[in-house]
Symmetry: C2
Subunit: 117 residues, 2 copies
DNA sequence: GAATATACATAGAATTATGATGTATCAAAA
DNA sequence: TTTTGATACATCATAATTCTATGTATATTC
């Protein structure tokens, strides 16, 4: 059994990379399971990153040079601690700016009665 | 040649239906080209709905029972004026609530220094 | 008359989160 | 002690949606 996010999966698209970049910018290093727990807590369970989304995303971001990782063993169990590369630190800014601007733009269309953020 | 939106196409995913529902809730009836122009103006050119996105979306929403349309002729050129069905009016509320909540949640993760909206 | 804007359409490609499934360790409860 | 649930990673096929590219045709403006 798995827990379903309260949002349609399409809404998440394009935001996962920004979320990961943001968390890693704040935490120095995190492992996958820790990231998913953190997001779940931060959002009151509203966003639940699935294994099938998170681990491939981390791998892709690593392949793209945004992240690197080192393995640590807790007993016999391996953890991959991910951290931002120089490139990841730089691109984080652009990703978050784009997302921020996009949210502002969406608000303008959908909730014009609200002040822009 | 075509105009590229300033956002990665993935960011738009899941928002197009909500945007269309919102505009049609405000305008009674609109045709496709009019919707795309309206969005372009509203967002200062930041969101440019492509033909290949907009027309299939309108068709899908019609198939899903959210929209209906009637054709009008301007000279020899046809326009399809779309409008919300009863179902579309009802589901609009849920779509926009979900989007609003999602934006609020995203803000909590990515811009925790800002007040929630 | 040529270029641009209006107005619709479809098909294939690309992207990305998901669902399903698998492996394995560890802690706690029954 | 066995079994349940949590921890921790992984891969693959599928689904969903937008985009790119292309096509057709009319209307307007230069």
């Amino acid at each position: 059994m798995y827990i379903r996010s309260m949002y349609s999966k399409e809404l998440l698209k394009g935001t996962l990379t920004a979320i990961i970049l943001k968390l890693l910018a704040e935490h120095e290093k995190m492992y996958g399971y820790e990231i998913s727990q953190h997001v779940k807590e931060l959002t009151g369970g509203k966003i639940h990153l699935k294994d099938g989304s998170l681990y491939p995303a981390l791998q892709k971001m690593t392949a793209d040079g945004l992240l690197s990782y080192k393995e640590e063993y807790i007993g016999k169990r391996v953890r991959k601690y991910y951290f931002l590369t120089k490139k990841g630190q730089k691109e984080k800014v652009a990703y978050l700016e784009e997302l921020k601007d996009f949210i502002g733009t969406l608000n303008k269309i959908v909730f014009p009665q609200l002040k822009s953020i």
